[in-house]
Symmetry: C2
Subunit: 469 residues, 2 copies
């Protein structure tokens, strides 16, 4: 569960064309911004729209791209598009190096550790600085005119937006960091908090739902003890590949745990297809069938299966349940590499009162071994803290950390305001970066309020910027 | 003059044992902090003294080493030693990579461009972060206890101290950046400001002194037009090597201009031997002989020679005037490399009303050519602005920029307070980082006051740090 869990930060998915209009552009940037040993360059992609832009005073809304092709984020960040009109803003989405088309060494970028070594958040942010400078001077020719840059980002992109403001406050005037787990690191957040939050979402939806999931792990173990039990589960859960070994059973449990996490992330109040096509309030839907944790193992497992079906087969088009990842190796390799270098996030579960999962410790040693085997890198646990300050954000300014409390990643988020200009914004009934998504008739009061608050802060930052010049 | 001028930022010189006591230590740090392509490490040197340290509450006074062996800075930063007692501070001087003993690739560190490529301010600061973390956790075992770090630095070290606070405010609570020309870069300060300040020091000492220097360039040109004139000057200025070509004459003029700058930098109110052994208020001494710019060429050149003698022969031990640099190639190679990569500082002179020098334009193209020939690097002009924010320091906090107005480098310094916690501190009769030097009976009121102000700010920062935890 713990290695797979990383792929959930990876917010890739189904390409949906949302009808947002942009031009696709490229800028040449250095592969290495921090030494002079490598003078290679590459083309970084960015999307731009100036429909509503007022060159004399409009801000630049800059999305700090994360671990997927940039279109995935431009499609799922409707908030930026919607408010660009009232702010007369230029909209820019920058693609993160080593994702989408922005490959420093073309198709072989992810192949070897020397080429992959430049995949870091620091290098990505230095790309962003170059892009903003280039836009100001070469493309827009606005130089230092009063067009402040406001950074936006969700999830890892939200971390980048916050860090971007922390490290480059002269480049970016403020940051909207949505669902940004900047404290999901060693020594900052207990390793089981992520699954605690996930669990509370199920328990709060329906206490029996949480208990049913809790009970299901033992039920799976019981039933799959025998070969006939494995065959029964294969049959009744309609698995594409039969359960044969204990490893197969473990993989099934990982998959289920991942699904529970994914559902919590995308527990939106309307139909959406972000991680998968799902109904409105999917957890409510999932929990409908899981209402009695005292059922016998077979009955309980069938009710769990019905619940899980909401995730893997909402459309009814899946002929069987495929446990292998929906993500190709190419799609996840970049992020998994980052998770082996800078982004070491410890996860664990304890079970019982703590969470609805089977106990599973955080084992740094074995994780490090995996990283060495796969990428030839030795993970360290303190790079992020050293570079970005960890829990000490006292000197930061102009950052909104918004978090939906239904989102497992809120465990590593900033949930209390740090200072008068570094603010925590809570969306109690919101899931993973709901606030950055396009508005929807089903939006709850809390997300509508959050978006208003964000706009107020942006107005203030722009005002402060203009009246300083 | 313009390439040589860089060597004046290089504050090396005569090793003086000041009787400060310390242990000499080493820490292993990565050669590259910003990519995972190179896993080499090296030993970085640091000096430490805990005589007055109170482990329960004393701060860590951390000198951000600059472009020379660290002992040069520990010897010439008496202020830190003196106040360590009243603050119960731990004193640490960290050596900058590629200087002194801190050579990433041993004796061949400066030899080729791949090895040299990791000589950057960013990498050096990441070393400092590692050192501070290591001191806290491994050496002092204080973890996150209330021992705030205050960074100090003079000249390039002052730039590093300021940038260190800007980039790593969670690591360092405040910075004393003395004579730190963080704005001596393209687009931030006109290229002739440096020589304007230098000129004003001479003109203010004695208007005739400035005029005499102004007139001397033409006098040199006139006299050296003929071979007999060259011989005359060689003889009368006691040159070690005779003037034979126009290039030799140009070199003589460069040398003289450099001496005028150096004198302005070390125009201290007491005898000192920082760049050279010099009397108190050396410019006053130099100007004593230069009192009439209308003298005939030969008389004028003799008065100038007597003035210059104060610099090159105050002790009377020089048998002839040696125009070649006092710095070996090894001593300057590191800084000259930095001046070809990140630290491109444009200098020029205009002559006439503007300054006391011959007009000399800033020629980036030829400078770039020199850098390519010598180091195989193509200089860019905006790295510092992109990384550290240039003139926009609005989001910074807890930095004192102190500048002596006799110091040519004050031209690129922060001379006006930016905000309530980023303060400019002017020392009208102070030269290059006079405030960081040990106190002296001849200290002027202004430097005594500056040191008091600095101490007040340090007290405030420590207070704020403690009452936040």
């Amino acid at each position: 569960m713990f290695i797979f869990a990383y792929s959930q930060l990876l917010m890739i998915i189904l390409h949906v064309t949302c009808g947002y209009d942009y031009t696709t552009n490229y800028i040449t940037v250095p592969v290495d911004h921090f030494s002079y040993t490598n003078s290679d360059t590459f083309k970084m992609k960015y999307l731009m729209n100036d429909t509503y832009w007022d060159v004399d005073k409009g801000p630049i809304f800059f999305y700090a791209g994360n671990e997927a092709p940039i279109e995935d984020f431009s499609d799922n960040t409707g908030f930026m598009w919607e408010i660009s009109r009232e702010f007369n803003a230029l909209v820019v989405f920058a693609e993160h190096r080593y994702y989408g088309e922005s490959m420093p060494y073309g198709k072989s970028s992810l192949d070897d550790k020397v080429k992959l070594g430049y995949l870091t958040s620091q290098q990505a942010m230095a790309d962003f600085v170059d892009l903003i400078k280039y836009l100001r001077n070469d493309t827009l020719c606005i130089g230092k005119r009063p067009n402040p840059v406001i950074a936006f980002g969700g999830s890892y992109g939200g971390m980048l937006a916050a860090w971007f403001r922390i490290k480059y406050p002269a480049t970016v005037e403020g940051a909207i960091a949505s669902s940004a787990p900047i404290w999901q690191f060693t020594g900052m957040t207990p390793c089981n908090d992520f699954y605690k939050v996930t669990s509370s979402v199920y328990r709060n939806t329906n206490i029996e739902c949480g208990s049913t999931i809790s009970a299901s792990w033992k039920a799976i173990n019981n039933v799959t003890e025998t070969d006939s039990g494995k065959a029964w589960l294969t049959d009744n859960w309609k698995l594409c590949t039969p359960l044969e070994t204990t490893d197969d059973v473990a993989r099934l449990k990982y998959w289920a745990a991942d699904v529970y996490v994914a559902l919590a992330m995308v527990n939106y109040p309307y139909e959406a297809n972000f991680l998968a096509p799902l109904p409105a309030n999917p957890i409510k839907e999932v929990c409908k069938s899981m209402t009695n944790h005292t059922e016998d193992d077979a009955t309980l497992l069938m009710s769990v299966f019905h619940g899980l079906s909401v995730y893997f087969n909402y459309t009814g088009s899946a002929s069987c349940l495929n446990l292998s990842s929906a993500f190709s190796d190419d799609m996840t390799k970049g992020w998994n590499y980052q998770a082996c270098t800078e982004m070491i996030m410890p996860f664990c579960t304890k079970g019982g009162e703590d969470d609805i999962f089977e106990p599973y410790p955080w084992d740094f040693e074995s994780y490090a071994k995996y990283c060495e085997n796969r990428y030839g890198v030795k993970p360290t646990t303190d790079d992020v803290e050293k570079q970005y300050g960890g829990k000490n954000l006292k000197a930061a300014s102009n950052i909104i950390f918004s978090n939906g409390l239904l989102d497992p990643w809120s465990s590593g988020g900033v949930l209390k305001s740090i200072s008068s200009t570094v603010r925590a914004l809570l969306i109690p009934d919101g899931a993973h970066h709901l606030d950055l998504r396009a508005s929807h008739p089903n939006d709850t009061t809390s997300v509508i309020h959050a978006r208003k608050t964000i706009k107020h802060w942006i107005i203030k930052w722009i005002f402060d910027y203009r009246h300083r010049k």
